[in-house]
């Protein structure tokens, strides 16, 4: 393995990832706990909306590997990526084709889960910020969807972990460290732009969207 080090994940993207993990974990746990924890469930959900809005924008204007079009692969490549015995030469700087599918699935499911939550009522004392704009039937449907989709979230988290540790154990590729440090080693690729300017814009945008979501949706 060569010493070449390439910045792949910019700081705003890594922060997005960690914060999304925290918000989803808080939302899943507090939903089970109920009671006064539901206040935190609503906060976590609203923050998730803000984070997903940031990710949506970052997917068009962010650095190279954060952009959606750089990890839109045809199905053929996704399947090829899943075959056993693919070697290091097939490593991708950004998301690999199979990982890309799981990223899109995760973002879409979390979007559906957090938006349905805004129209959901637990029929106890907590309801989403937009319940007042929905009919009873719509709220009932949204609530059913919100409850059912949690299983999709659990499934995607399991798949995520399975893929990360499968990659680590079977193909000796560590995907965790790059997602924390931002760098991949021994790969020949254009680096992602992670300058103070990019960071500043990303962090300002993310803060604004999260604060706005919490303000409007809790």
């Amino acid at each position: 393995m060569s010493d070449s080090r390439v910045r792949v994940w910019d700081l705003p993207l890594r922060l997005f990832h960690v914060l999304l993990l925290i918000c989803v974990a808080v939302a899943l746990v507090t939903a089970q706990l109920g009671g006064n924890w539901m206040t935190w469930h609503v906060r976590a959900g609203a923050s998730t909306v803000g984070l997903l809005l940031f990710r949506a924008i970052w997917g068009f204007v962010g650095p190279r590997y954060a952009r959606f079009h750089t990890f839109l692969y045809p199905p053929r490549q996704v399947l090829a990526c899943l075959k056993p015995g693919v070697h290091a030469s097939m490593r991708h700087a950004g998301h690999n084709p199979a990982g890309a599918v799981s990223v899109f699935a995760m973002l879409l499911v979390l979007l559906a889960e957090s938006v349905s939550g805004l129209f959901s009522s637990d029929a106890i004392a907590t309801e989403g910020a937009l319940v007042r704009f929905g009919s009873d039937a719509a709220v009932s449907t949204a609530t059913s969807l919100h409850v059912a989709l949690q299983w999709a979230v659990y499934a995607l988290i399991a798949l995520h972990l399975l893929a990360i540790f499968g990659r680590l154990l079977l193909k000796r590729e560590d995907l965790i460290r790059p997602m924390l440090s931002g760098d991949k080693y021994g790969i020949d690729a254009e680096p992602a732009m992670d300058t103070p300017m990019v960071r500043g814009i990303g962090l300002a945008l993310a803060s604004l969207l999260i604060a706005g979501s919490i303000w409007l949706l809790t």
Partner: protein, 155 residues
């Protein structure tokens, strides 16, 4: 002539039977529908008042001891009566009550009694008027709602 009479008699008998069946069925459906509406309205009132108590706890509504107590009283009182509205057969219709409400009636009753103990504590806390106590009592009460919903209410 005779044949015609017999036919008429048969027709009359059938019509009468149909009328009786229809009346009994409609009455039964009406009674069950009323029970379903009664319990849903009761739960709706409880949920609405719990939501307003929660809003006071979160600071979205101003703290007013008298109205908070009235809300806690309402939740406690309505919660004591809501259990009457689950007659046998009212699992059919526009209801989210799961069949185990009737199959496991003892467990359902157990959770209802547990909930009533919690709403009584909420009322006691509201009566004293300490917001911290109200918050923790509210937390326990809403958890007892949830534990019953988790087992007996379709989502």
């Amino acid at each position: 002539m005779r044949v015609v009479n017999r036919r008429r008699r048969t027709l009359a008998c059938l019509s009468f039977t149909a009328l009786v069946c229809w009346t009994v069925q409609t009455a039964a459906e009406g009674a069950q529908g009323k029970a379903i509406r009664a319990r849903q309205s009761a739960y709706h009132v409880m949920g609405h008042q719990m939501g307003l108590i929660n809003a006071v706890i979160k600071g979205d509504l101003p703290f007013d001891k008298a109205s908070l107590k009235l809300r806690a009283q309402t939740v406690d009182l309505v919660g004591r009566l809501v259990g009457e509205n689950f007659p046998t057969g009212s699992d059919k219709g526009e209801t989210k009550a799961k069949p185990n409400v009737w199959k496991d009636a003892q467990r359902f009753k157990e959770l209802a009694v547990a909930s009533q103990a919690e709403t009584a504590k909420l009322l006691a806390a509201a009566d004293k008027g300490e917001l911290d106590d109200i918050k923790s009592a509210y937390g326990s009460a809403s958890k007892s709602c949830k534990s019953c919903h988790d087992e007996f209410k379709a989502k």
